[in-house]
Symmetry: D4
Subunit: 250 residues, 8 copies
């Protein structure tokens, strides 16, 4: 404790870092950031940008960078990304910003990329499922896993699906994203003994649109799989990483 | 008109038959029966037994027999069937009673079985879908169609499905019944160019149970098919017959 | 196989066409296109533009044109159509673009219009149902069927409906689109022995709006008909073509 | 006031009747009965038997008889009716008990049947709608109106409906009960200028069953009508009486 | 018939008017208009502007004016009204345009305002209910009824409600519009013997918002009333007129 | 700690009581009982009997008696109560069993009835709301509060409600239970400045039945009140006690 | 009465103030304002700006200021606030305008800030819950209560929650706002004996989004708490004040 | 192939076993059994008894025993278990029948219990969650995993939860079953880095009952977890086994 305070006093530790080490969380102007989540939970706290102001997003990202050398943001819109770029150019000019659809990962200069000797298969049924899969992919890549991405193998043309079964079998864990009627995860899970995490996607229109048909169908699936919420690519990716890390012990 | 009344007067025509020919419907004690539906619509009026008293079911069946020499009843419970057997033993002793699950078909002695040179494929995903498929089958058989019944080919074990594709292709029209997530009709419709009528089945439990997940998934299907209500085997069978008859012109 | 590769090598076949013939699908930059669907399924894969970027829509349309000489697009917005026109003016300058509401059909110079000796009746209850019927109509016209379009015959003024019964009877198959309470398909299906495919339309407001009342009512219809999802004009048209083709064997 | 108390004191008025005249309601052992509703509201308080114990039903009926010489009970089950008969045989032996389905009307010996010079048309689509229509009918008959009951004219056989249009036009007010897709009230209301009160009925199965499809369709009706809750025959009958009484001023 | 054609030939009757008299409806470029609805149904066809293009709205209004000298439009937006004003300034320059919120009534120069000796009470719970009540009011005024409008008497301050009971009693029929929990129509209907038509309004937020709580509560009302769909001011007004006309026989 | 173990050793403390004091909870054969809830939370843990076997209910009640000298059980059915009586006659023969509808309170011989100088008003709209109010009442009585129970004052006869306003004002906190449209808590909360806790009750039928209309209406209430779940009389009573105790500090 | 009229006559009382004292409400151009609510109900009428025009919002605020020297407005958008500022600069130039998110409080120069010796704890789970908590806070501050605001203590990092338990215990009443799965109010209510009012917040996406999951979870909470509607910060704040005032008797 | 047929011919292999090895599935009188699922999918096909007749359950269990020496049955009712015991006493007298709630496991005499060096933690919030957890437990035990079962640690008494955190951390994978508001899996998943599979349980009443609140809350969880359908203990157990086997490679 004394040590920490000394470090703060002599400037080798910021107050935020000290609070993070003492409490596990940091109180910034836009809310508390759970800096200890990575070590406690195995996955970092992601900042859900949706519903937050530009200033709140920037403040939370800076707190994350300050205390954990990395920030993960999901459902970021264009204005928020611009605000983030502008602010970081000033505050953390040597940060690296990676964007994949609406998901953003910012790495501080001292970020130490972990390694994870595991392959996560990420599969989509169609074009509109890709942004959701991207969200999962960036989380898995952040954890150092190998990604095997297989796009556009929906069951309307079953041979597209069957052609890839070997790749599905080779993954340690599979994330399968599908909208509309959401049949793809069920079909794949019937063919392999890899654990499948299914992500319903909010495509479709009319009755059962917005992903509700896919979600209900996946919960009713006659095969074994588990499910995350509609469009919850981040959660699927993080759950895959927890499983992959249990398998490969990193 | 005069002819009809003369026939009633001399007893060669019952008043019910006369009313049926004049109006197209007959007024019995349990309601009006649409005796002209067969000729106008191509399929007979079926008597939905659910929610009716035993006496009402018997009265409607007798009216149907009286005017069209045949009665089709759906969702009949055991008590209603017993009441029907007892009553008909008295009133129409030479009637034939066929039962398939909760569906019943009664043929009067003068019933003239039609012929229909068409094959209706009727497919189920699992054991619990069979009573619904039975309901469709009895309607199609009543119309004289050939039935190709394929049971228990749900997608959890996809090879069971793929093994039957040729039979699916050989049918003139396909009825596919599936509960839970209802993926089977989508998978089949992606493989053949036969028109597919999908019947969601009220199996399953929890969220999306009672057939709602299957219905929503079928309406969202990424292939081309049309849908009837949950458990509506009769409607699927009748629609298949309308299509089959259009094809084979009987 | 060798032949194909030779053709690619000497440029008489594009790599896309070769992949399409080998696999049945083509992998473009915006996803896989199911080029074999027309021959396997009897109807072409339509590109659902909704939820896709302009670039994805253009890329998929070009892949479709490349491999099947025709592209069908549904739920296209104005920006996407503009992007398509601009891109095709460059890449396939002799393509023909037909637009009907939000549905677009692009024909390459070598497209061979099929013939189908069948009449599809397409009926609407009111003005707001027309765009959905248009979507069905363009699919049926694409397949070469004769269209008998009857607009604005909703049951609020029943004589408008009854005046057209003969036309309904003359069709090989009927598509009936109706929003609000969706009574029209039920009334028509009670009067004719033509197979009826009902399309609920997302008109109406308040409880049961967005087409849900119409959908529920059609699933509960006391006559025989089958249903597609709310606003699913394309699916209704395609299902009608599968039936019409079964009837007339083209 | 003094007069009332004197009458109670000398036994010509029961305490219940005195409370009813003073407060407008009576407090019995099973709850308060709104004895003044008939005069204030034009229709008597009906006792909803569903969810009440036999003893509560009997107590409320006796309070109603005591203070208004008549009791109306809806949704009464067989046990409750038996309990009522047994109790009244003792307490009000000269009461008359009328039963129509699950609706019961008990008349005390001094009940003075009102007259209402108006005709209420009560129409059903099918056999299962009859108990709901019965509930409406008993309320209208209780008020002294003439009833024109037309059963079994559902739109699946439209000629059954059209044959009765003149009777629909001749009524002062129409109650139309229909389950399944509930199209009948819409069709009738499109043909006549009589006010139509529509009652959705809880028939049907699958999606939109339990009367929900009918209710939603009636709220979306493209004609003019007003609606009561699913199976609410009593409310429809009472509303018809309020209208009929406004018309004929009794 | 000949007479009609002669009148068309010599220009004293437009083809639209002739079609309207022969068929009861007119086919314009934007759909059929039910010109006979006023005489058959007692209330004119209203043009629902929502979901129609400006051109369709103008064309339907012009057809209505042409054949019935009056057009009623509901849910009209500002652009549609502007388009209407511009078009009519040209085509029917002496038409009168009345606007009340989103409801518009256009009178041709020959329109003959009917008289109806009846009072319709129109009541709102709060400020946000007013546009819905306006829609009802314009329909009732169009039919010539006297309107007694009582605004802003929601039950949160019950004395506001109770102060107006006499006015509620004096009306021939009452329309009561209320959003949120929709308690006002129930409270009023418990106090008077006037028929009450309740209109749930799409105010409120969170669970039961968009008028669904008010609708459900009104269907469950422990008093007698009938209901129209959420925000369906036009339907409530038209139903009130049918009742008022039955009462006063105009 | 040592003291506790000595007391167990010499039998003045049962192992259950010792575990309860050490951990705050006791592990019985039917699950853990939260013996410390009374002191931590101010209200005892109630045993929800619904969904538990007779044996589980008995075991949990005995654990509660053992450690806190009192057991509160809700939603107990007749079989469970019989089992409880039988078991306690053996195990705790001097226990007192109080039953109010489906709610049961068992007092051990050493139970020390607390006092709470506060009045909780408990109000019902109609007869069917009484069992839910009973559940609240037994909790409040258990805490020693004075109960002012006012039954059967639903708004269909508003004078019944208004007659009791003074009693509503005199309570420290009000619990108002109402089914159907649930208007009563809104009307009362508009008239008094006492905090109102509203309990929707699962009466009613059709759309919005099972208490859903009442719940939605209460959440949308235009007055200030807070809500508990449908039929959650226990929760309402416990929340009232927390408030009453805060007021009167016992 | 005479006194009041004299005061109006000599200008010491405005007509609005006179109406407010006589009737309890004032009729302005935008509706009636319930001026007596503060004294009758203990909390002022808040003006819900959502769904009202700028002019209506201004008129109602001015009426509130005129009669009660203070106006509270909720769900105010930027345009409405600008209109309010502009109008008040003219009409009540010495008014003070306080804004907190979408909540606005305007104080007239004669407003007499009440005192309330009570502490309301206001707690949020995350950043997006803050505007809802702000709405509650402004109501509580308006009543003169002390606010203890604790932000950002969601259960994903449980130590953040547990660190604040003492503050939760010290409040007289707690308002806890939480979106997503809404677990925080349940966890807090399990730890303290303070009454908890839970506010579900409309954050989250996919199934159960818009606050519905949080609302359902809070209604099902296994601890004791009461609930207000989704995002209903104002109602929670007002209910807290009613309780706080009952406790501290101001 | 020949070998197989020889084995059938000489009786060392039953026809069912032969079909199972050839096709992967066996066709019995009650449907096809997916005998190859264990090897293909890593988990055996479970027989869902719900909705099947006693005879079907027995036939499927016998087929499973015949071909894989073990049968797993879920949602078995008492009659079905009795039928099974009776039938097996005859057909496979040396079979062992294990029952856990509604889940049954039958082992043939040659069954070879697998070993799996992994620990699955199975946690319940309360007594009513136990049968669902039992279903998961029997699947995991069947696969040879070590089970660490922790019951009755719901968050209403948070110390019960926190006391067990070390055990949660020590498991390879966690299954957490919770009904009502379903907060327990979220709280646990926030404390450990073990993968958590959440099972919502159909306890609770009123709004969000039947497990819907728990399901929605788990899908919205602010921590990382994946979900199976309401009461789907079997699926959770099987998914846990797939993960455990990936970890420990058995």
């Amino acid at each position: 404790m004394r040590e920490l305070l000394d470090a703060v006093a002599d400037g080798t530790l910021s107050p935020e870092q000290a609070e993070a080490e003492l409490n596990g969380y940091v109180t910034g102007e836009a809310g508390r950031f759970d800096a200890a989540r990575q070590s406690r939970r195995g996955i970092p706290e992601a900042i859900l940008a949706e519903g937050k102001s530009d200033a709140q997003v920037v403040a939370l990202a800076e707190t994350a960078l300050e205390t954990t050398d990395r920030a993960l943001l999901t459902r970021v819109n264009d204005d928020q990304i611009d605000a983030l770029r502008t602010a970081l150019a000033e505050s953390v000019p040597d940060a690296t910003i990676e964007r994949r659809g609406t998901t953003v990962r910012v790495l501080g200069p001292d970020f130490d990329q972990p390694e994870l000797e595991a392959t996560v298969g990420i599969v989509t049924a169609g074009t509109v499922d890709k942004p959701v899969a991207d969200e999962a992919e960036i989380v898995c890549a952040d954890a150092g896993a190998t990604i095997d991405r297989v796009d556009d193998v929906g069951v309307a043309a079953l041979s597209r699906t069957l052609d890839q079964v070997e790749r599905f079998r080779d993954a340690d864990v599979l994330i399968v994203a599908a909208g509309r009627e959401g049949a793809l995860p069920t079909v794949i899970a019937g063919l392999v003994d890899t654990p499948v995490i299914a992500v319903p996607v909010s495509s479709g229109y009319g009755h059962g649109g917005d992903g509700e048909a896919a979600l209900a169908g996946l919960l009713q699936s006659c095969t074994v799989l588990s499910v995350v919420n509609i469009d919850a690519g981040f959660v699927a990716g993080a759950q895959a990483i927890l499983i992959a890390r249990a398998i490969h012990g990193s």
